[in-house]
């Protein structure tokens, strides 16, 4: 177990290093991305561009530039080229909104997915199942930006039931916090509710034919106990695995669209701005932030897996 975690931590460092190098290099080969030229203005003469370049350290060789940037990130001193603001602080400021959005959406999507998937499987082939099937296919098919725009138009502009987005800190007013987040939560959760409930349904239908479920019935357990303790419990293993991966993805960048449409000043919105202004320091910052969470949740999933399925032992080669 300890060896497993140590190995995964080393792997994490390697992945993050590789990602930072790749982002850095890509940025340097994109046309029109020279920050000095952008900062110096439209009709700047070469001398001015050269001076800005020297100011930002862009006249140094690439490896030196890379190392400088990494040092600045880890000491929290990396400044954005475009706005001259501290990148780490900006990301840090976005964390509450991003986490509020992602955790809330995750709670909604897991709750509804388990509920819908369970009902669908129990009533397989009947009306409830068919209705939920159609509903989840609709959910899977709706693009986030479109759904968000539609919800905003009808529920905040036409009917004025909800505020038009923006983030209210939890510490300031929990009621307003939740009220402002309801639409973003639903928007982000819809896709996953559909996808997860379909998956749980088919897992449960498979599990219902397992011999141990027949044993559970033969033991004289009630149908409810059989379904929850034996069918659902075993069907949740792959769902939980996927959840870990998807949650990492959502935190690490999957919420960019939702944050942008609802104007939630989280990490995603910041990432969106950085992309639009082709600003390297924030781009590297948010990419590493996202990659960190994706890799972190991957590792957590592997560890959780051993808890969920006792047949799996960490750090051992499968026999």
């Amino acid at each position: 177990m300890a060896r497993f975690i140590a190995r995964r931590l080393l792997g994490m460092v390697a992945v993050l290093f590789a990602i930072s190098v790749i982002v850095f290099l890509i940025f340097n080969v994109i046309p029109n991305s020279d920050p000095a030229a952008r900062i110096a203005g439209k009709n700047a003469d070469p001398a001015l561009i050269a001076r800005v370049s020297a100011d930002l350290g862009l006249d140094q060789p690439l490896p030196v530039q890379y190392l400088t940037m990494m040092r600045q990130i880890f000491t929290g001193q990396l400044m954005s080229y475009a706005k001259d603001r501290n990148v780490v602080e900006q990301i840090w400021d976005g964390v509450p909104a991003t986490f509020s959005l992602c955790i809330g959406a995750a709670v909604i999507w897991m709750t509804l997915a388990v509920l819908f998937g369970y009902m669908s499987a129990v009533h397989a082939g009947k009306f409830t199942d068919r209705a939920l099937t159609i509903l989840s296919l609709v959910g899977i098919s709706m693009p986030v930006f479109w759904l968000a725009a539609i919800l905003l138009y009808f529920l905040t502009f036409k009917v004025q039931l909800f505020p038009t987005g923006s983030y209210v800190p939890l510490t300031e007013d929990p009621g307003q916090w939740a009220y402002h987040l309801i639409l973003p939560w639903l928007t982000l959760a819809v896709l996953y509710v559909g996808f997860y409930s379909r998956m749980l349904r088919s897992n449960m239908l498979d599990a219902m034919n397992e011999d141990y479920v027949r044993t559970a019935r033969a033991k004289g357990l009630s149908e409810r106990q059989v379904r929850i303790r034996h069918v659902l419990r075993n069907s949740m293993i792959p769902v939980v695995t996927l959840f870990g991966l998807d949650f990492g993805m959502v935190v690490g960048g999957g919420a960019i669209l939702t944050e942008t449409v609802y104007n939630l000043n989280g990490v995603g919105l910041y990432a969106g701005e950085a992309i639009r202004s082709l600003d390297l320091p924030p781009l590297i910052g948010v990419t590493l932030f996202g990659a960190f969470f994706i890799v972190l949740f991957n590792t957590l999933v592997d560890i959780a897996y051993a808890g969920l399925d006792p047949r799996i032992r960490l750090g051992e080669v499968a026999a």
Binding site: R214, K219, E223, R311
Partner: protein, 333 residues
């Protein structure tokens, strides 16, 4: 002595895309207290479906079940699931073929036994767990205090089957239905499990329905044997009668295909030609007739399961018992 379990004209059909498969076509038998009743037959003969229907495990939207199963005078076929729970595990317990897949892989074996106890009795977790340890000990699992905390995959096949049996005994049922309990096990382990079943039958006066396709297993423990073919019982007799005076040509075929120590080494094992009939449209007369070398015109009619050689020895064959003797000698020396 009155029977504790009485099955009467039990029919089980499953609707499929191709039509109704009549898995069990009118099975009747009785189980006496403390008796070991073996049901023998090849795959698809309906023996497992018969056994599982007793406790309602074959219920499904596409299943059609008629006839009667009564346990101590209580009819089980019409009971709803809640009422059946009093019977399942409590009165009639079951052990299945593959002990790996029959235990839930994600729970400790002790918890799976406790779960059963707590589903029927109002006892604390601790008490249930103590009981689980005692049960594991009683079926010969060494070091039960440690083993209750293990998961199914940490046991060998034979030990897992012992766990299944321990679980089945948890509520001291009167009847144990063992559905091919030794089929998935090694031969040496098979013998141990059979000995355990035999011992439980004796010590606890437990009535056992033993489903198997292996006549060797039958010879080991059974008191009475039902031979099933294509969803019907073709012969119902005591163990000795089945082995020394079998009446149905299908039973002869089964016995003739057994390996015997007194056989010459070059002799080929006998086999029954052909395939069992499709249960979508079984033959209207004797179901074995299409494969039977002794078939004659009367076989177009379905013979009843009735005594033809006296006593409680029942069979479904039109042949004259005297005529049979010489015919049988050709199959079984």
């Amino acid at each position: 002595m009155s029977a504790i379990l009485r099955v009467d004209d039990l029919k089980v059909g499953f609707a499929t895309e191709d039509g109704v498969v009549e898995a069990v076509g009118g099975v009747s038998f009785e189980l006496q207290p403390g008796e070991v009743l073996a049901i023998v037959g090849e795959s698809g003969s309906g023996k497992s479906v018969t056994a599982q229907t007793i406790t309602g495990l074959t219920r499904a939207p596409n299943a059609k079940i008629t006839g009667s199963v009564s346990y101590r005078g209580r009819e089980l076929i019409g009971l709803d699931d809640d009422q059946l729970r009093d019977i399942r595990g409590e009165q009639i317990a079951m052990v299945f073929q593959d002990p790996m897949s029959s235990l839930n892989p994600v729970y400790r074996v002790g918890d799976q036994i406790s779960e059963m106890i707590r589903a029927h009795r109002d006892v604390s977790k601790r008490e249930a767990s103590h009981r689980a340890i005692e049960l594991l000990r009683s079926v010969g699992i060494p070091n039960p205090e440690r083993r209750v905390r293990h998961y199914p995959h940490e046991f060998s096949g034979g030990m897992r089957q012992r766990v299944m049996i321990a679980m089945a005994l948890a509520l001291e049922p009167e009847v144990l239905i063992a559905d091919e309990p030794t089929t998935a096990l090694d031969v040496t382990v098979q013998a141990q499990i059979l000995r355990l079943l035999d011992q439980l039958n004796r010590d606890r006066d437990l009535a056992v329905i033993l489903i198997t396709h292996d006549l060797g297993v039958v010879a080991e423990v059974a008191d009475r044997v039902l031979v099933m073919y294509a969803g019907q019982i073709v012969e119902d007799a005591t163990l000795d009668e089945i082995f020394y005076d079998p009446q149905h040509p299908y039973t002869w075929g089964l016995l003739g295909s057994l390996m015997r120590l007194d056989q010459s080494r070059t002799a080929r094992l006998a086999q029954i030609p052909g395939q069992p009939p499709s249960l979508l449209a079984p033959p209207s007369g004797c179901r074995f007739a299409p494969r039977c070398p002794h078939e004659f015109d009367k076989c177009h009619e379905l013979p009843a399961l009735q005594p033809r050689v006296g006593g409680n020895h029942l069979d479904r064959c039109w042949l004259d018992p005297e005529d049979k003797k010489s015919r049988r000698a050709q199959v079984i020396p």
